[in-house]
């Protein structure tokens, strides 16, 4: 049992932190790519910018400024600093529900990013700056995992994180492979793997054979890699089935959707997906994620009171 508003806040903390981590990583990889050939750099910048927002020619041409915007632009709602400010504001509203260890990690990274010296730190060493943010967010997740009770609140936090992750990776795959599979060069494909934090785990499965089709297969369907869409949908389903246990059957909407999506990825066949067109499959997955999001709201947060009043 927990307050509906609190569950909502924890869910959003999960989402915002996941988004901040992803955007920081994309910004970092976009900057690293500037060391490659100009065409590769532009290709990587296009992918990174499209995956989290809009890729205009000006933005692609100025990767350093674009990366700084992704990290520090307060006017951009999906920048790292904005996401973390929102995560932290939500955490403040449920300060009594999260452990001090968890709170401290989030508060610290927020203070560092919103402080007066953030822009200077970025200019002095953008890669180290972004790397530290990602490392701090890992510490946050570790602290949450190791110090919070693995009860309802923690499950809402992870539900938000995995739903966000599935959508972010789904969007990235759409940008890369939605319009056909064989057009990206080798350094770009490596950059895509890095954007999903998947390079090393991928190499262990497929060895140094970096090609588009196995990358798509790995990020969509691998059962063990924690950032594949299949893995995230497994988690979403697992958390929702526990969370739905105490709601009445009529409210089991999101649980049913999550189970169906899980099965869809569990029994998917790569050849079939390709025949259909990978963009069709990805669109379907993203739409299902959106439906689960609304379902969570209807079942746990914004339910009509008439249904729940004592007789």
């Amino acid at each position: 049992m927990m307050l509906a508003r609190v569950a909502d806040s924890l869910y959003w903390i999960g989402r915002y932190v996941e988004r901040a981590e992803h955007v920081a990583r994309l910004a970092d990889i976009m900057l690293t790519a500037t060391l490659d050939r100009a065409e590769t750099a532009a290709q990587v910048a296009r992918i990174a910018l499209s995956a989290v927002g809009e890729a205009t020619p000006e933005k692609i041409a100025t990767p350093f400024e674009s990366a700084r915007g992704l990290a520090l632009d307060r006017m951009d709602g999906s920048s790292v600093v904005s996401s973390l400010a929102l995560a932290r504001e939500n955490a403040r509203q449920v300060r009594d529900q999260i452990t001090s260890e968890t709170w401290e990690r989030l508060n610290l990274v927020h203070l560092r990013l919103s402080g007066a010296t953030a822009a200077k730190s970025f200019n002095d060493g953008s890669s180290a700056f972004l790397h530290d943010i990602i490392a701090d967010l890992h510490l946050f997740k570790g602290a949450a995992d190791a110090t919070m009770s693995h009860g309802e609140g923690w499950r809402f936090l992870l539900l938000g994180a995995h739903l966000e992750r599935a959508q972010l990776i789904g969007r990235l795959l759409e940008v890369c492979f939605g319009r056909g599979v064989e057009r990206l060069d080798h350094p770009t494909l490596t950059a895509v793997l890095r954007m999903s934090c998947a390079l090393e785990p991928y190499l262990r499965v497929y060895t140094a054979d970096v090609r588009a089709r196995p990358i798509l297969e790995f990020l969509l369907l691998n059962a063990e890699f924690p950032r594949s869409i299949r893995f995230s949908t497994d988690e979403i389903e697992a958390h929702l089935s526990v969370l739905s246990r105490h709601t009445e059957a009529v409210h089991a909407g999101p649980g049913r959707l999550a189970g169906r999506l899980k099965a869809r990825l569990q029994y998917a066949d790569m050849a079939e997906i390709e025949r259909e067109g990978s963009h069709v499959f990805l669109e379907g997955v993203l739409a299902e994620c959106g439906a689960i999001h609304s379902g969570v709201y209807d079942a746990f947060v914004a339910y009509p009171l008439e249904m729940r009043l004592p007789a």
Binding site: M2, A4, R5, A7, R74, R92, D96, S100, W103, T247
Partner: protein, 501 residues
């Protein structure tokens, strides 16, 4: 920079002026918490004095920075909202603890228990039979005309007659060292989280000294608070307690979340609660759940738009009716403010004698009520010596400190008093006692007051510790955090019979 410089100049001028006034009026010097008049260190400060002498020059400053970092990290902050962005500041905290010996504390404790007992009886009486008004001990119009009087509370049953479940009284120390009560806070007193956070900080800063000194523990406060709150709903087998906060934008939000977390009670906002058939529920992920006790940190005016202020969105429509129906308890009870009214304050010694038949253990500060014509003329004739307060104001606003004010300011107040005498009281200017504080890396004396916290439910308990508020500007007598005040930890030393906890 310019403002800092100017405020320094003002400080200097103020200190000088205070010294001159003191010399002219032959005012006694303030009581020094650490040093006896002959300059020797008082015995209960001896351990701390030795520790301070052993520290290197930069060390204290270093520790102060560590402490500030700890506060910032924990989010013990208040938010200052600006045009462009909002910034967070920590409450200025001084790391040198104020120390109170066991015998002094014993007197404070019994005095506070006596006072709160009498004030609870007073509230039960004025919202019941009104015997004290019929007997003419307290003027009828003073009570019934007070803005904080709530006629909605008339005849309502309050368990254990405990109206003010959480009370934070402000004590000051007069020039002769005697403690006196300056103000009772019976509405929604705050500051207890700073008491607890300051303790965490001072334990880290002076671990050895803390152990040697034999300091009584205060960390049971959340536990005692929960016990007190639960004792207000004894008819329920396992009462559900919640903390009601105005929300994250309230300056005391940190404290609300802190207490909720340490009590293990949900922290709710008005929008989380629903009243149905005079029962109060909270919206949970699995439906509605009934609530029994609300520790509300929302002012009377805002708790229920149907009963009090209609424009309030912080409260819960129908909450007061549920309270009247007795299905839920609110702590503190609405309408307690009438007993900490600045004009009613003058009658507290009489109230203690009336209900308990005892002499007050802790004295009041002599108070002149401008509503009485004779007292008003005395106030007007002595504006340069008195502190004048508006009855309805708090937080250090609407106040004139006569000896520090200019002739023009005094004239302005004289006009205001004449125009609305009932709204003003006056008290002699008391030189609050001074305690050593760390100011810009140096130890220097600053004026302090003392806010202990008293809980009353089935019984009354005083936590052996307090929030010591500090006027950080030299010579200033205003300790409110909204007016440049800070705070520090308060060590209550264990006596022969005291358990450390």
């Amino acid at each position: 920079m310019a403002t800092a410089q100017r405020s320094e100049e003002i400080d200097r001028a103020l200190a000088q002026e205070a010294a001159e006034t003191a010399a002219k009026a032959d005012v006694k010097p303030p009581y020094d918490e650490m040093h006896a008049p002959d300059g020797s260190v008082r015995p209960h400060f001896a351990i701390m004095a030795r520790r301070l002498a052993a520290l290197g020059p930069g060390e204290l400053d270093e520790r102060q920075r560590t402490l500030e970092r700890f506060f910032l990290l924990q989010g013990i902050t208040f938010t200052v909202y600006g045009a462009e962005s909002s910034t967070e500041r920590i409450i200025p905290t001084d790391l040198l603890p104020r120390i109170i010996p066991a015998d002094e504390w014993a007197r404070i404790e019994t005095g506070l228990v006596q006072r709160l007992q009498a004030l609870n009886l007073f509230l039960a009486d004025i919202y019941g039979e009104r015997m004290i008004l019929k007997d003419g001990v307290v003027p009828r119009e003073l009570v019934l005309g007070a803005p904080s009087y709530r006629r909605e509370m008339q005849g309502l049953y309050v368990p254990h007659q405990a109206y003010a479940n959480v009370c934070g009284s402000d004590l000051i120390r007069q020039e002769d060292g005697e403690y006196a009560v300056l103000e009772d806070n019976l509405r929604v007193p705050s500051g207890v989280s700073y008491m607890l956070a300051n303790r965490e900080a001072s334990k880290r800063t002076f671990p050895g000294t803390f152990r040697l000194a034999g300091v009584r523990q205060i960390d049971r406060y959340p536990d005692l608070l929960l016990t007190t709150l639960r004792s207000m709903a004894e008819w329920r087998p396992n009462p559900q307690v919640v903390v009601l906060t105005p929300g994250v934008y309230n300056s005391a939000y940190y404290e609300h979340a802190y207490l909720a977390r340490l009590m293990g009670a949900p922290l709710v906002e008005g929008r989380d609660l629903v009243v149905h058939d005079n029962m109060v529920y909270m919206r949970t992920t699995t439906g509605l759940r009934r609530i029994d006790v609300i520790y509300r940190r929302v002012d009377d005016d805002f708790i229920d738009p149907l009963t009090f202020r209609r424009d309030s969105s912080l409260g819960v429509p129908g909450l007061f009716n549920a309270y009247r129906a007795g299905t839920v308890v609110m702590c503190n009870a609405p309408g307690t403010g009438v007993a900490d009214d600045k004009a009613v304050y003058a009658y507290v010694p009489e109230i203690i004698r009336y209900y308990l038949g005892e002499e007050p253990i802790l004295p009041n500060i002599e108070t002149f009520l401008c509503r009485e014509p004779a007292q008003m003329s005395h106030v007007l004739a002595n504006l340069d010596k008195l502190v004048v307060k508006a009855v309805g104001a708090s937080g250090g606003y609407g106040m004139l400190i006569g000896p520090h004010a200019s002739a023009a300011q005094r004239e302005e107040f004289a006009q205001a008093i004449k125009a609305d005498p009932e709204n003003y009281i006056a008290q002699p200017t008391i030189q609050l006692s001074t305690a050593p504080c760390l100011i810009d890396g140096e130890v220097d004396a600053r004026h302090v007051d003392l806010r202990p916290f008293i809980l009353s439910g089935e019984k009354i308990t005083v936590t052996p510790g307090a929030l010591t508020r500090v006027a950080l500007r030299k010579g200033s007598l205003v300790v409110n955090s909204s007016q440049g005040g800070g705070s520090k930890d308060t060590w209550v030393l264990a006596g022969p019979g005291d358990d450390l906890s």
